[in-house]
């Protein structure tokens, strides 16, 4: 499985089996929320802050 470095703490991260683009994973080292932006090539970015509201 492809690996990528955490943008926050540089730690190497391996995508677990079945990880999908658009999924949020947690950096095993620093615990920051990361958005999986692509699987091949592996890429992540800091997940946007969760704003609590909702539609109808």
């Amino acid at each position: 499985m492809s690996t990528v470095n955490c943008p926050e703490c540089e730690a190497p991260i391996e995508f677990a089996e079945g990880t999908e683009a658009g999924e949020i994973i947690v950096c095993p080292d620093c615990g920051v929320d990361l958005e999986v932006t692509s699987i091949e090539p592996a890429a992540v970015q800091l997940a946007p802050m969760e704003q609590e509201d909702w539609g109808e």
Binding site: A47, P48, E52, D53, W54, G55, E56
Partner: protein, 269 residues
């Protein structure tokens, strides 16, 4: 001008015609009313009919909302603006009430911020969704509403807002009612629904909470589930926004507005 904002719940059992008939009486007594309605049931039904069943999003903090991509938004607009709003306005007109149907797009009545992304839990996975036309209401054009009220109309508001960029957004009807009530400094906000009010142990109606002081509100919102959680949150926002009292009351009975105004239901002050 003493204004009462009435939110008509969309769930099964809420009796729109009883609410409209009650409104006729109250308007004759000089009361000023503003209606806000929902429409998720209608939107789901239309989606099913067109082969686009609704997809719901459950946010990490447990709120469910409709995943409103562009296609779903159009279905939502047809159901909520086209059917529910028009038929409610027609129903009132047939009772001699000069109703005026509109939504947040019209004259930018309700401006909401569109969230760039929404987090959703899908079979255990947390996901980021970016094309969700959902929003949180920030501003209400109260001058427009006052002008409509001054012209003798009963504004009937659909839960659609406009984003900063002018896009149509799906918004929560209970929160919309709260924001409208705050903007108008309404005397009362009535949330009419298919239960007698907030119950300690749902669905046991004997555990109806009759009085709920502000300071117990956040505890109540923890306990409340699903739709009721949104109502309690809406109540909190309305009271913080200057509304004197919020009453969650039964929308299935006769004269539901007068009944609520008389304090029958959960009165939150």
């Amino acid at each position: 001008m003493e204004i009462t904002v009435v939110k008509l719940g969309g769930t099964e059992g809420v009796d729109f015609s009883a609410i409209c008939k009650d409104a006729v009486e109250l308007l004759n007594q000089g009361k000023k009313l503003v209606f806000v309605h929902g429409g998720s049931a209608e939107a789901n039904a239309l989606g099913e009919g067109l082969g686009t069943p609704p997809k719901m999003i459950t946010s990490p903090s447990g709120y469910t909302s409709r995943y409103t991509d562009r296609k779903t938004l159009e279905i939502f607009l047809m159901a909520v603006n086209g059917k529910v709003n028009s038929l409610l306005t027609e129903q009132l007109q047939m009772l001699g009430v000069n109703a005026f149907g509109l939504c947040g797009l019209d004259g930018r009545l309700m401006q909401a911020t569109r969230k760039e992304s929404v987090q959703s839990i899908e079979n255990g996975k947390r996901k980021i969704i970016r094309d969700d036309y959902t929003g949180k209401i920030e501003k209400v054009n109260s001058e427009l509403l006052m002008a409509l009220l001054d012209m003798g109309y009963l504004p009937v508001i659909a839960p659609v807002a406009v984003s900063e960029k002018g896009e149509a957004l799906n918004v929560d009807a209970d929160r919309a009612a709260a924001m409208v009530a705050s903007a108008l400094k309404a005397e009362s906000l009535l949330l009419l629904t298919a239960v007698p009010g907030l119950m300690k142990n749902f669905p046991d109606e004997s555990t109806l909470i009759r009085q709920l002081p502000m300071n117990q509100l956040s505890a109540a919102s923890e306990a409340a589930q699903g739709r009721m959680k949104k109502k309690v949150l809406g109540a909190e926002e309305a009271l913080n926004g200057g509304v004197s009292r919020v009453i969650i009351a039964d929308g299935r009975i006769q004269n539901p507005i007068s009944n609520a105004l008389a304090g029958n239901g959960t009165v939150i002050e």
